[in-house]
Amino acid sequence: MASLTQQRRAGAPWLSPPSMGIRAVKAVVISLIVVTMIYPLVYVIAMSFAAPSQARAGVVFPTEFSLDAYRAIFNGGTVTQGLTNSLFITVVGTLLSLAATSMLAWGLARTRQVPGAKFVLVMILATMFFSAGIIPNFMLVKYLGLLDSTWSLIIPGLISAFNMIVIRNFFQGLPEELIEAARIDGAGEWRIFLQIVLPLSKPVLAVMGLFYAVGYWNTYFNALLYINDAEKWPIQVVLQQYVLAGVQIPGAIVSPDQPPPPGVTLQMAVIVLATLPILIVYPFLQRYFTSGVLTGAIKG
């Protein structure tokens, strides 16, 4: 089990390939892992397109397909409303979070020169080790009058201390000469930030943006806690209601003279709709897994 990346193997003729037996065991184990990871998702996606006759337990993969479930869901409106709400939270939240986080990161990038910056930094880092708890947070949101407002899902989590540190680290690695030159030329902090720092930091902003976006899209508990009005629920709460709590999807009919699609197919379709944006964003996220930006980020 030594480290045998291709590159290493090419430069390391002393490594002999493993025996057939070991290779067979590895192949089986890895196939099992891959199937366990991916099959449940493939199953759900496939079943959401299954024709009514196929929508029963025990069908491993449907053979007849239909779009009725999606038609019915979009006719119903509740799921569409949930998706719209989540989209708003995700887009607005991500933009605001990126703006607030990068501003703070730039402000705290030079703790040496700026009196008090070090203190603020330590205070922010400390918040990573404690949390006030569910009820005090609830009371704060209530006190601020944010209950039942979409903003309660954005504002309390606007800046993640961890993401701020990652961006700050990136800022500190930017070429100093460039920034100093701009200062000598008389550029102010804001101009430097907007015209030099941000354009140079696109990679880290992209990664952090994607992480914020995934977080906002997946918002569930805060919505459960802060939002009573079903009209304002994000898609995760809608999904929980229809799939896990077993509430019927209202108005889920394809047309008046046709029986509604089976409940299972509807549930699968809601799961797929709630997952879709993540699946779309995933390939972009994935580019950074290997580029090192992320490993650096995780290591802090």
Binding site: P17, G107, Q113, V114, T127, F193, L239
Partner: protein, 325 residues
């Protein structure tokens, strides 16, 4: 881990007016503040954010010592000393929640904690770089799905009326439902955790493996070490610092076990198997209206968690490890 970066001496000495750090220091504090006035426009809003949304709620914990009622508010509610805590210790539901929390946490440490290490070693042993990338792409994905999605998907596959139940039904075994079985629920929770996070957890170990100099393997191979021996004596020791760090973080959060995950599944398996400290706080406080008792539980949990992470860190340092700060 991040505090270390904070303590790192600044490399930047950029100031237009002051050519060196030393001459800058000469200015009085007020002068230095004035010079950086624009920088504060970056810092103050963010600092206020943390003050309001991270520090201000701490004050809300005062409710733990009150007979709180939302109508009377903080100021109007009578103080009751430690009465809420006494109620907690006498409530069998709290003991049940604590027991569930600890059992799940221990199962996580035993099964879910080593899983990414094993997976990283396995993937790292693959000869084909392309196959490795492919597998990585697949195993990282569930990390990005919300718990609602994960549990919905599991429900469709392992729940009653789900895929597996249907297959077993065809073979004459009826009534399979892994999602509502209270006896095996804790193992189910751990399995879900491994499914969701194990792949993502390998990233940090891959980074550690990549930093091992190749000549160590070469020297060992030339001296006749088998692949297993090389893994045991070279790869694994290199993973120890990272693993220690993660272990510390895990121990610090031992009282916090998958809140959303359990909250979502509790209606299906019942509170006896699925009540943990966090869900207790939510159900008792927010839904049940016993604000004081629930806040006391939350506060106690928070304090113990902080003590745990600080002591785990101290122990790791004493054992010669790095610690997180």
């Amino acid at each position: 881990m991040s505090v270390k970066t904070a303590a790192r001496p600044e490399t930047r000495t950029a100031r237009a007016s002051g050519p060196s750090a030393a001459s800058k220091r000469k200015g009085s504090l007020l002068q230095r503040i004035w010079r950086e006035r624009w920088t504060y426009t970056f810092i103050v809003p963010g600092a206020l954010f943390f003050l309001v949304f991270a520090y201000a709620p701490m004050l809300g914990n005062i409710v733990a010592f009150q007979q709180y009622s939302p109508f009377r508010g903080f100021a109007g509610s009578p103080f009751v000393g430690f009465a809420n805590f006494t109620v907690l210790f006498e409530d069998p539901a709290v003991l049940q929640a604590l027991e569930n929390t600890l059992v799940i946490a221990v199962l996580q440490l035993v099964f879910a904690f080593p899983a990414p290490i094993a997976l990283a070693l396995l993937l790292n042993s693959l000869l084909s770089e392309r196959l490795k990338r492919m597998v990585q792409t697949i195993v990282y994905l569930p990390y990005f799905l919300s718990w609602v999605i994960v549990i919905s998907v599991w429900q469709q596959v392992l729940g009653g009326g789900g895929l597996v139940a249907g297959l077993l039904d065809g073979w004459g075994v009826s009534g399979f439902d892994a999602m509502t079985n209270a006896d095996t629920f804790k193992l189910l929770v751990v399995a879900q955790n491994i499914w969701k996070d194990c792949g993502w957890g390998t990233i940090i170990f891959f980074a550690a493996i990549a930093s091992i100099p190749n000549d160590r393997y070469e020297a060992a191979a030339i001296d006749g070490a088998t692949p297993w021996q090389r893994t045991w004596h070279i790869t694994l020791p290199a993973l120890v610092p990272v693993a220690t760090l993660l272990l510390i973080l895990n121990i610090g959060s031992i009282l916090t076990v998958g809140f959303e995950q359990l909250l979502l599944q509790q209606p299906m398996v019942g509170s006896e198997a699925a009540e943990v400290l966090d869900t207790f706080v939510y159900f008792r406080g927010v839904l049940g209206g016993q604000w004081g008792v629930a806040t006391a539980a939350g506060l106690l949990k928070g304090v113990i968690g902080t003590i745990l992470v600080l002591s785990a860190n101290k122990i790791a340092k004493r054992l010669g490890g790095e610690g997180i700060y």
